[in-house]
């Protein structure tokens, strides 16, 4: 078989996707050479492209550039992490300062700043009710006290006493009575 016929046969297989990698390499070798048959020249571009692109590689300093870019990315990530937490750190610091100040102030003036009156009711009506109840109780107690006093006075009025004689009793009379009370029992008999 002539070389061109061989190539044609290979090309037919190639278009059908039936060639092996080795056969495709031999086609590339033929089409990138100088002796390409005129009728096959339209296909030269394809194999020329294959050959050209296969030689393309990254520049020698790609690894160095990539390493540098990765380090840069690492720094950016660290910076972003710090930036994300900065507001939280600021808030935490502010809260800590506020708490420390509040505690200090409390310790300084806490004892002399006792609250004597405090609002213990949130509902004004409930407060009014309780206040009215307390005043009723107080009023009731005062009423009982007054009634007891009047009762005592009435009891005293029932007793027949010579108030003028009682009023005329002097201190010396009282002392005399005390001295006679202290004598031995037999003397009184």
């Amino acid at each position: 078989m002539k070389p061109t016929e061989e190539i044609n046969a290979l090309l037919v297989k190639y278009w059908k996707g039936e060639t092996s990698l080795e056969e495709e390499d031999s086609l590339t070798k033929y089409f990138t050479g100088r002796d390409v048959a005129d009728e096959l020249k339209p296909y030269t571009a394809l194999f020329q492209y294959r050959e050209n692109l296969r030689c393309a590689t990254l520049s020698d300093d790609f690894d160095r550039k990539l390493k540098k870019a990765i380090q840069q990315k690492k720094r950016e990530n660290d910076y972003i992490t710090i930036r994300i937490f900065v507001p939280a750190l600021r808030i935490a610091a502010s809260v800590a300062v506020a708490l420390a100040l509040s505690f200090g102030v409390y310790m300084m003036i806490g004892k002399s700043d006792k609250t004597y009156f405090a609002e213990t009711y949130s509902d004004p009506n409930a407060a009014m009710e309780h206040a009215a109840f307390a005043l009723d109780k107080l009023s009731e107690a005062l009423q009982k006290g007054e009634e007891a006093s009047i009762e005592s006075i009435q009891e005293l009025n029932k007793v027949d006493l010579d108030w003028e004689m009682l009023d005329s009793i002097t201190e010396s009379d009282i002392n005399y009575q005390k001295s006679t009370d202290s004598l031995p029992l037999e003397n009184n008999l």
């Binding site: 394809l46 492209y49 692109l53 296969r54 990254l58």
Partner: protein, 169 residues
């Protein structure tokens, strides 16, 4: 530990990924940037590595997606500037100006053909033609069935053949 996984599973793919990006954006600087961006993205998602079944497939997908995104943004830039950069990529210094020019014209033709392929066809075509990968490896790398790889490659080659013949009439 993590850097070991990165060095062993991801970094060795760098040239393959670069060529895939280059085949899409057709600009060396852009392609290199894309690979670096994808590596940085993968590196910064270390917590998710355990969830990735196939790291190679993940890398290819990331490169493909970012390359197409970048291609759109490149198209939005000045067309003149883009063409100048693309031309620089095509010329090979070791060849004389005439053969370099012919070569560039041929490669421009093939790029025009590749642009007509679907994304899947492009990916399969690149991995087979440029990386010389077996159907099985392509299927594994792209999370596709081997059958779908064969069909995609067959359709891609057929379309390129037709376009080449049409362009050379």
């Amino acid at each position: 530990m993590n850097s070991d996984i990165f060095n062993q599973s991801v970094l060795p793919l760098k040239d393959k990924l670069y060529r895939l990006a280059l085949s899409i954006v057709r600009n060396r600087t852009e392609a290199e940037d894309i690979v670096q961006d994808v590596f940085l993205k993968i590196w910064s998602k270390q917590d998710e590595w355990e969830l990735i079944d196939n790291m190679e497939a993940y890398c290819y997908r990331s490169i493909k997606n970012l390359s197409f995104d970048r291609l759109e943004s490149m198209a939005a830039r000045s067309a003149e500037k883009y063409n100048a950069e693309t031309e620089n990529m095509m010329f090979v210094d070791t060849k004389n100006p005439h053969s370099a020019f012919v070569e560039k014209e041929q490669i421009d033709i093939i790029y025009k053909c590749i642009e007509k392929l679907s994304e899947n066809q492009k990916m399969v075509f690149q991995l087979r033609e440029i990386e010389g990968m077996s159907y099985k490896d392509i299927a594994q790398s792209l999370n596709m069935s081997e059958e779908l790889v064969k069909i995609s490659l067959y359709r891609a080659r057929k379309k390129i053949k037709e376009l080449l013949e049409e362009l050379n009439k």
